[in-house]
Subunit: 172 residues, 2 copies
Amino acid sequence: MTIFVDMDEVIADTYGAHIAWYNRHFGGNLTREQCLGGEVWQQVPEHRSHLWNHYFQPGFFRTLDPIAGSVEVMRELAAKHEVFVASAAMQFPNSLVEKHQWLDEHMPFIHWRNRILLGDKHILRGDVLIDDRLHNLETFQGRGILFTSPHNINAQGFERASDWEEVAAKLL
Amino acid sequence: MTIFVDMDEVIADTYGAHIAWYNRHFGGNLTREQCLGGEVWQQVPEHRSHLWNHYFQPGFFRTLDPIAGSVEVMRELAAKHEVFVASAAMQFPNSLVEKHQWLDEHMPFIHWRNRILLGDKHILRGDVLIDDRLHNLETFQGRGILFTSPHNINAQGFERASDWEEVAAKLL
C-alpha cells in the first residue's frame, strides 16, 4: 500500500510554532484552544503580513517539534507500507532544505527516495493521503484521511484521524 | 493534459556541466561525442568518487545551461497544458533550492505550484512524462517520452524525442 503523509500539522507542529512565534514577538498570550476552528492569523489583531513573514525566516521549518506519536507510528508504517512524506513546500524556498534536514533528524527511516516536496498534491498516485488540508484531500483519488488540526475541527464529510494513535489503528 | 518534464538533461544541461567540470578540474579534453552511449564517469580514468563529489558542491545545479529550445517550447507547452517540472533532487540537498532558483530564472512561467522535487517518480499521476532515464519511464503509467541524452542513445523500445523541436511537434 502506498501512503502519502503531509508534513506541516500532521508530523510537524507548524500550528504550535505559529502560536509560539506570535506570543514571543508580540508579547501575546494566545493558546491553541483560542484558535480552534480557524487559522492562527485569524485570531490576532495585527495585520496578517506581520504574522506570516516568519514563514520565510531561515530556521522556522527546521525547528518544528514532531507531532505527538508521529515518529513512532511513522516508523511502524514505513516498515509495513510504502510511505512517502509529501509536503507543499515550494511557496517557501527556505523550507526545502530545512524540511529535508528535519526528516533526517526526526524520521531518518523515511529514505530520500520517499520524500516529495511540491506545490500541489493532485498529481500524486497512491492509495492513502493523510493531510490536514481539505483541498488536498478533495483532489486526491485514493482514500483521504483528514488529520485533525485546530483549523479543521469543524470540517465535515471526511474520514478523520484525531491523532497518531488513530492513524495506527486504521493502517497498522 | 498533465505533462511532467524532468529537469537534468531534459531542460537543464547537466551532462554538459559534468564534462566541463571534468575538463576544468583534471585538465581533460573530454567531449560529448566521446561519451555517447554511457555516463560521463564511465569515460574518465579517475575513480568515480572524484568526479561525483561536485554534485554536492553549492552552485552546481544553479548554474546549468538550459537545453537548447527548452525555454521556448516549455513556455508554449505551459500555456496550453498543465505542465509540471518533476526533478529527482532529494539525493542532493543543495540542489533543492538551486533547482527552484534555476526555474525562477529560466522558466518563471512554471509556477511554484507546478514544481515537484522528489526521490522516485513512480508516484506521479498524469498523462505524459518526458524524461531521459529509462527507469522513470518504465514505472510511469501514462505516455512516456524518452528525451535523448548521450547516455541513452542506444536504448530501444521507447517513444523518443531527440530535441525540443520534436517535443513541440508531438505535444503542441
